[in-house]
């Protein structure tokens, strides 16, 4: 009886499988399918904290400014931070004292859902909302030293700055710097939520290249092209974002052709996909650096010689070859290799254990020393790097304890400068040495997690940030060199490697644009062999 039951079950299963359709293939040429690791957190840009939400918001909203693009020989385009272009803003006038900028808004720009024009009222509402909510957007406003904003015409907004600010344009190309439709948001406001944060978290109201057509939490987000979008119309009329948490799962979907692009794959998946037919891996050098920050206010890292000794004990080649499978560059200073004003000739360090021991001897530590390196758990690359460093430092007589910490605890202690040493990556998405200095290396910088202080470096960055005209380039170059030289000599940070940003896609997808924050911009993408323009 049992055997008969199982035979019946087997026959039924076979019949079922034979009737099963093959997996959906990407037949619709105007539909772009992307496998993403996480659901979208929010479509209200000021509250977006994670990469996928930032990416979707970048595509749903139109930012104040954008960068011009340069073609790269590798077949994709890269942003050029020296070419600031208007996006939602069409043009601007700066006063002689650089404390006032008048923004002329782009006429003809329309919100995706209503078709209403984007006006000065929407921009003013955006500033007021940012001030009231004090979320991410507010950081950019205060960092740009903007103290006042007012409407000076239906399509004109005037900004007043506390002092001339060199970062305004860089900061206002962020995904979060993008006005929503005021009338729509105010319609959903109530006494408890006067700025419609609850509604705006799940409903977009932007004028970007796409709008959300369907959002099934945890499953899929479908975007449709904004019919009023001002730029060249998007080739893909629909973008489907499938939420696939497993990196291996995303890679298999791409290999099988069920998606066109798989985002945020692990090194193993990228290596496995690379030789596959029909797949291409776009591998781009970015300004992402893996760093070990040494707490300059805690012994023994108060001693410059100790910090330099560790810089000589870093196994630079091993890291690039073994940890990043050759898909990285050896770092050579605080400004990443792909950054403006980087000068590799200033870098003196290489792996030299004898030199490291000699420096430790000069520092009064002939028998070496021990310290603790904090690493955020859940970051396998950082953990692997820590193990490689631990083994290498031992050869110089330094014993390093690895302290894997919960990511929240790790971040909190970074802010309090309580780590003795820490390891993490850092993407310098604003490609400007002055910005880097003001936020990371000045003594009072908010992200100076090394508690590093050198008054001469502070002075140099202050000077660099005064040089904003094209004709200042030569002087800025000279000052940047001096600042880099001092930081490299002080060695407040060990610069390990700069891994490539990898994006795996089907080989018929073209038009990729490398953004400074690695956000994927859907509008310029197209499918080869199908015309190009819609």
């Amino acid at each position: 009886m049992l055997a008969s039951a199982y035979t019946l079950l087997g026959v039924a299963s076979l019949t079922f499988l034979r009737s099963a359709e093959s997996p959906p293939s990407n037949n619709d040429n105007r539909v772009l399918r992307i496998a993403i690791p996480d659901d979208v957190e929010t479509v209200d840009p000021p509250f977006s904290h994670f990469q996928m939400s930032n990416e979707v918001n970048y595509n749903l909203y139109d930012q104040f400014f954008t960068y011009g693009l340069d073609d790269s020989p590798a077949g994709y385009s890269v942003y050029n931070p020296q070419k600031i272009l208007g996006s939602a803003v069409e043009s601007w006038r700066t006063s002689a004292d650089e404390r006032t900028i008048v923004l002329s808004l782009r006429r003809g720009a329309r919100f995706a859902r209503t078709g209403n024009p984007v006006t000065a009222d929407d921009f003013i509402y955006w500033f007021d909302r940012a001030k009231a909510l004090k979320a991410g957007t507010w950081f950019n406003i205060i960092s740009a030293d903007i103290e006042e904003w007012y409407k000076t015409g239906d399509y004109e907004v005037t900004l007043h700055f506390r002092k001339p600010n060199p970062f305004f344009f860089f900061l206002f190309r962020d995904q979060s710097q993008s006005p929503p439709e005021k009338d729509v948001l105010t319609r959903h406001a109530d006494r408890d939520d006067p700025w419609s944060t609850r509604w705006a978290a799940r409903n977009d109201a932007g004028s970007g290249a796409y709008y959300v057509e369907k959002w099934i939490p945890g499953v899929e987000v479908t975007l449709k092209a904004n019919p009023y979008y001002r730029r060249d119309a998007s080739y893909f009329q629909e973008v489907r974002l499938y939420i696939v948490p497993s990196s291996a799962g995303r890679a298999l979907l791409l290999a099988r052709g069920a998606v066109d692009i798989a985002e945020q794959l692990g090194t193993i998946e990228i290596d496995n996909l690379r030789p596959m037919h029909g797949i291409k891996i776009t591998s781009v050098q970015t300004r992402n650096q893996y760093l070990v920050g040494l707490n300059n206010a805690q012994a023994p890292f108060t001693n410059k010689l100790v910090r330099q000794a560790l810089a000589y004990a870093v196994p630079y080649d091993v890291i690039v070859k073994d940890v990043f499978s050759g898909q990285a560059l050896k770092s050579s200073g605080p400004i990443p290799i792909k950054g403006q004003f980087h000068d590799g000739s200033l870098w003196p360090y290489s792996t030299d254990y004898d030199k490291a021991k000699e420096l430790l001897r000069q520092a009064g530590l002939p028998n070496g020393f021990g310290f603790t390196l904090a690493v955020a758990s859940g970051n396998p690359v950082a953990m692997e790097l820590a193990v490689v460093l631990q083994s290498s430092f031992r050869k110089a007589g330094v014993s390093m304890r690895i302290d894997p910490q919960n990511a929240a605890v790790f971040a909190e202690r970074l802010d309090r400068r309580s780590h003795q040493a820490w390891l993490r990556d850092l993407l310098l998405y604003v490609d400007d040495p002055g910005y880097m200095g003001a936020f990371y290396y000045r003594s009072a910088a908010i992200l100076n997690w090394m508690a590093y202080s050198n008054p001469e470096v502070d002075r140099l960055f202050d000077q660099i940030n005064l040089l904003r005209r094209p004709q200042d380039r030569e002087q800025k170059d000279r000052l940047c060199q001096q600042a880099q030289k001092l930081i490299i000599d002080d060695a407040p940070v060990l610069y390990l490697a700069e891994p490539n940003f990898n994006l795996a896609m089907r080989d018929d997808i073209e038009g990729y644009v490398q953004q400074p924050d690695n956000l994927l911009w859907y509008a310029p993408l197209r499918r080869r062999g199908n015309g190009g323009a819609p």
Partner: protein
């Protein structure tokens, strides 16, 4: 009869009381553990931080209050059925759970059906053919199933049955096209599509369910096989079975009418435990198959330090466990007369 009913009611009340205590304990422990995980504010603000922004976020998340106040506030809300707002999805946790629970229930129930269909018959087969190659084969398969981690089995099945031989659809949720979902009656797509008589949707839902269901069930089938087998072997060796056999009662009647009924008591306990096991197994299986259920919701919440959903999912899992044990106890009460006189 009245006395038996009274005893049953007393027994049930006692069990319900202990369930409430367990839930209170679990919610308190989970609350404290999530707070010990650290302050997520610095992680959330990332580079865009200033003391003003950090303080504003701390205030908005209610983390500026003393821990005991946060705790009482949370418990008060919980008692009023308010599980809080997810900081990641910006929706009430209760709404999120209502959206995701049916997906998990469907997966767990499907896996449970597989466990019962495979575990009990194979256990019986191994017991009645004790020492034969059937017995050895079943035990070998059972041991293999117990030793394979389900996330790995999931990846393996996807690799072979989707990538190499595309017999099953891509591991992308519950349907080929989420737009074809039938009107919600139970939230279980198989039932709802049958109810709506949309057989294409039923087929799509079933094909999406098979691989995650098999993956989830694979870890639970061995225990069911072993318990069924061991319990039946023990019963078959007892006097009350040997006697009718000696009197020439037909083998099948002895096995199914006398032996199996007695062997079912430990099996129901194992099935209750299996329900809890399957519920916890969904965390990995749903992640591997992008299955939009509670397990994946919990993982996403943990990845983003979203406290309220974590506590809610733990509570629901505990509730599930407790309910399964309660049902098992009631079944024992019905099946086994010894429970009624205790």
């Amino acid at each position: 009869m009245r006395e038996t009913l009274l005893r049953a009611a007393g027994y049930l009340l006692k069990r319900l009381g202990s369930v409430c205590l367990v839930l209170f304990g679990i919610s308190s422990i989970t609350f404290l553990v999530t707070r010990v995980l650290g302050n997520p504010v610095y992680l959330l603000v990332g580079h865009q931080q200033s003391p003003e922004i950090v303080n504003n976020l701390i205030q908005r998340m209610g983390l500026d209050r003393p821990l005991y106040q946060q705790y009482f506030r949370y418990m008060w809300s919980l008692l009023h059925g308010d599980l809080g707002i997810s900081r990641y999805t910006f929706r009430p946790v209760l709404d999120d759970i209502a959206l995701r629970l049916p997906a998990t229930l469907e997966l767990v129930l499907f896996a449970m059906v597989l466990v019962i269909l495979l575990g009990i018959p194979l256990g019986i087969l191994a017991a009645v053919r004790r020492g034969s190659w059937w017995d050895h084969a079943v035990q070998a398969v059972s041991q293999l199933g117990a030793s394979v981690p389900n996330f790995w089995l999931g990846l393996l099945l996807i690799y072979f049955l989707f990538f190499l031989v595309p017999l099953f659809p891509p591991p992308l949720g519950r349907l080929d096209d989420p737009g074809q979902a039938p009107a919600t009656v139970t939230g279980l797509l198989l039932l709802d599509s049958l109810w709506a008589a949309t057989f294409h949707t039923f087929s799509s839902a079933l094909r999406h369910l098979v691989l995650p269901g098999v993956t989830l069930a694979a870890g639970a089938v061995p225990a069911t096989i072993n318990i069924t087998r061991d319990s039946l072997v023990q019963i078959l060796a007892s006097d009350f079975i040997r006697t009718p056999r000696a009197y020439g009662v037909e083998k099948r009647t002895v096995y199914f009418r006398y032996a199996l009924k007695n062997a079912l008591v430990p099996v129901t306990t194992v099935l209750a435990m299996t329900t809890g096991f399957l519920m916890s197994g969904t965390v990995l299986v749903e992640t591997v198959y992008s299955w939009p259920g509670l397990g994946l919701y919990a993982v996403t919440a943990m990845d983003h330090f979203d406290y309220e959903p974590i506590i809610a999912v733990v509570l629901i899992s505990a509730l599930f466990y407790a309910a399964a044990y309660l049902v098992a106890d009631v079944l024992h009460f019905i099946i086994d007369p010894r429970f009624r006189v205790r």
